[in-house]
């Protein structure tokens, strides 16, 4: 599987030391990789989408599961551009991505192109900033010990 | 015919349901047999001995506690519920400066009863009380000082 993916996507990187098969994919190949994983490898269950702030880059970590074999893969995508990160939505492949992507948009500020309702879901519409980012600070309300 | 079958089946299912509720109702009015609620102030609530009501500090009859002010509980606490105000005081007998607590402050309003402070305490100074009457009219009353006024460290509890 690794070889197959490497052939198809030359820029894919596999992490070595993790328990689950973890791959990092450039933004432009993201959608086609996810489609491929679902259609050819049977990873039809989008377990979770996690927004990440790696300090330098923003990122999304997707956990996929094959509902027949119960294998899991992790697909990561990184955004070096912190100001307006943007990527294609997975909504058309997995319907569950709808809410997950809205949450990531809300808390990390990653914009999903083609998403049907790209609005804040947790916070109010006039909220400034994206609180789950590491550099987000609220001087008055956050107490960090 | 299913039309009438539906009607009779339906009525029968409704009657079975009424049998269940009636089966609880009639014994309840006669002997309060199935009544499960407790008449609270008259019948006091039974609380398990391990119930995590609030953190208290144990004092003996001489107004002595076991807290050495090591701050293990303060570090273990996930949300800053415990604050210890301490000082180093010269001990006359040994001539050394010893850590002595001034106030062991406990914010009950912030406590989530996670038991980590009590697990962390090396001298078993603090413990759970099963008191659950914690409602107050003012939030400031939820901030409690656990060591009694004028209390001091029990002898024999070394640091």
């Amino acid at each position: 599987m690794k070889n197959k993916l490497s052939n198809k996507f030359p820029n894919i990187e596999f992490a070595e030391d993790l328990e689950l098969l973890t791959m990092t994919i450039p933004q432009e190949d993201y959608l086609s990789l996810m489609q491929l994983l679902r259609d050819e490898f049977g990873f039809d269950y989008l377990f979770s989408m996690t927004g990440m702030d790696w300090g330098k880059d923003l990122g999304i970590t997707n956990h996929l599961e094959n509902t027949n074999t119960h294998e899991m893969v992790v697909v990561k995508v990184l955004f070096p551009d912190r100001e307006n990160p943007e990527i294609e939505t997975l909504e058309k492949i997995w319907k569950t991505a709808h809410l997950h992507e809205r949450e990531i948009f809300d808390l990390f500020g990653i914009n999903f192109k083609g998403h049907s309702v790209m609005k804040r879901i947790m916070l109010t519409d006039d909220w400034e900033g994206h609180p789950m980012r590491k550099d987000w600070m609220d001087e008055t309300k956050m107490i960090i010990r | 015919m299913s039309y009438f079958g539906d009607i009779f089946g339906g009525i029968r299912s409704l009657l079975t349901g009424m049998k269940i509720t009636g089966g609880y109702f009639f014994p309840s009015i006669i002997g309060r047999k199935y009544t499960i609620t407790r008449q609270y102030p008259e019948e006091p609530a039974v609380v398990a001995e391990r119930f995590k009501g609030e953190v208290v500090m144990w004092h003996n009859e001489n107004n002595e506690h076991r807290c050495t002010g090591c701050q293990a509980c303060e570090i273990a606490c996930p949300n800053g519920t415990i604050e210890i105000i301490w000082d180093r005081v010269l001990n006359e007998e040994t001539g050394k400066k010893v850590k002595v607590i001034d106030k062991h402050i406990y914010h009950l309003g912030m406590c989530t009863m996670c038991n980590l402070c009590i697990q962390a305490c090396p001298t078993n100074a603090i413990m759970w009380s099963t008191n659950f009457h914690n409602a107050t009219f003012d939030r400031s009353q939820l901030t409690k000082v656990l060591n009694h006024p004028g209390s001091k460290l029990m002898t024999g509890v070394e640091e």
Binding site: M52, H70 | G17, I36
Partner: protein, 374 residues
């Protein structure tokens, strides 16, 4: 005389919005659904979350690993034990701690008791949502017995904070085994009564059957898990796929229904209570006696890496994803909550249903709002 011919196509209805929630009797908390309605028909559902968002994931980034546990209680408070267990298992997996057998058995028993308690509460509230108000008290009577058992051992009734990394907080109370043994036959005797009261009722059957259909493909695509997915015939019980704690030692069935309607989801939960009782019965008699805490350091530091632990809570597939950079705090913690994905399911299958059906569907989804909002 002038003749006016009315065409049914001319009779236009106007769509309007209803804010169902954040305070609504059927929302079970502060779920706000913005419904686009056409008469009694729900055309679109748009959730607005965040009314109980406490940003637990962000809080976790500033807490030590032991201190995370108590926050997970507050996620899905009805399956708090399973949430605790998930974090504890994730940390143990990362640190490669082998916990004593006793701990595993205790965790499994506690987890199943919590599951029963959660399902009982769900059953009571389910009845209330469809209008049968008495079910609530009957369910609470039995749930109270579980809560008393929990209180005796864990010191708390709901937010137990019982599992810790490497073990459990307290040892079992001496009464625990006896009380659980008393509880099992009691519950077995009352569930058939529940069935007679609500399940068999013709009104309830009509409300539930063929309403809120969710196909297996949709269930997978919508990320449904737990009883919601199992009601559609998707096998997704983590307890069988990847047995954790003492679940590998017990023998139980996964309840699967193929219908995918409300009644199937309802039946899954009712049958799951029996299975949970069956699991407890197998374990309760011989709890091993080898300590309740594995040796751990006072300050837990996870090795650098990413760790995922999934457990089956009462609501479905709960995932803890910890990214560690080797410090005493996690770099990022993600709680994948089953309710969040199930809410997506509601958004999909609640469309073009009557308002009353939407309530019934959301009742079978069994939402706990803090679990959705985190």
């Amino acid at each position: 005389m002038e003749q006016v011919i009315y065409n049914s196509a001319d009779l236009k209805s106007q769509e309007y919005f209803i804010n169902m929630g954040p305070q609504h009797p059927a929302a079970h908390g502060v779920l706000r659904l913005i419904l686009t309605m056409d008469g009694e028909m729900v055309k679109n559902i748009e959730p607005d979350l965040g009314y109980i968002h406490r940003s637990i994931e962000k809080q976790c980034e500033h807490e030590g690993y032991k201190q995370i546990i108590h926050l997970t209680d507050r996620l899905d408070y009805l399956s708090s034990h399973m949430n605790n267990e998930a974090v504890a298992l994730a940390i143990e997996q990362a640190m490669q701690i082998e916990v004593p057998e006793r701990v595993k058995v205790i965790r499994t028993i506690m987890g199943e008791l919590t599951r029963i308690a959660s399902h009982l509460l769900w059953w009571g509230v389910m009845g209330m949502d469809v209008g049968a108000l008495t079910t609530f008290m009957y369910a609470f009577r039995d749930r109270e017995m579980i809560n008393d058992i929990m209180e005796e051992t864990c010191g708390a009734r709901l937010t137990m904070s019982y599992s810790t990394p490497g073990g459990v907080m307290f040892d079992l109370h001496p009464n625990f085994v006896n009380r659980v043994k008393e509880f099992i036959p009691h519950l077995r005797s009352v569930i058939p009564k529940y069935d007679e009261l609500l399940t068999g009722n013709i009104i309830f059957q009509k409300r539930m059957k063929n309403v809120g259909f969710l196909s297996a493909q949709d269930a997978i695509s919508l990320g449904a898990s737990g009883p919601v997915a199992r009601g559609s015939g998707v096998s997704c019980d983590r307890r069988i796929i990847e047995p954790y704690s003492a679940l590998s030692k017990v023998d139980f069935k996964e309840i699967l229904y193929q219908e995918g309607d409300n009644l199937a989801r309802y039946n899954v939960r009712m049958k799951e209570m029996y299975e949970s009782l069956h699991i407890i019965e197998q374990l309760i008699d011989n709890i091993p006696d080898d300590g309740i805490q594995a040796k751990t350091k006072a300050l837990i530091k996870l090795p650098k890496g990413e760790f995922l632990q999934r457990v089956e809570t009462a609501r479905g597939d709960f995932g803890v994803y910890i990214v560690s950079d080797g410090k005493k705090n996690p770099y990022r913690v993600k709680f994948r909550s089953p309710g969040f994905s199930n809410l997506n399911t509601l958004m999909e299958i609640g469309k073009n249903q009557l308002l009353g059906d939407l309530i019934a569907i959301s009742a079978t989804m069994d939402f706990v709002i803090p679990d959705i909002d985190r």
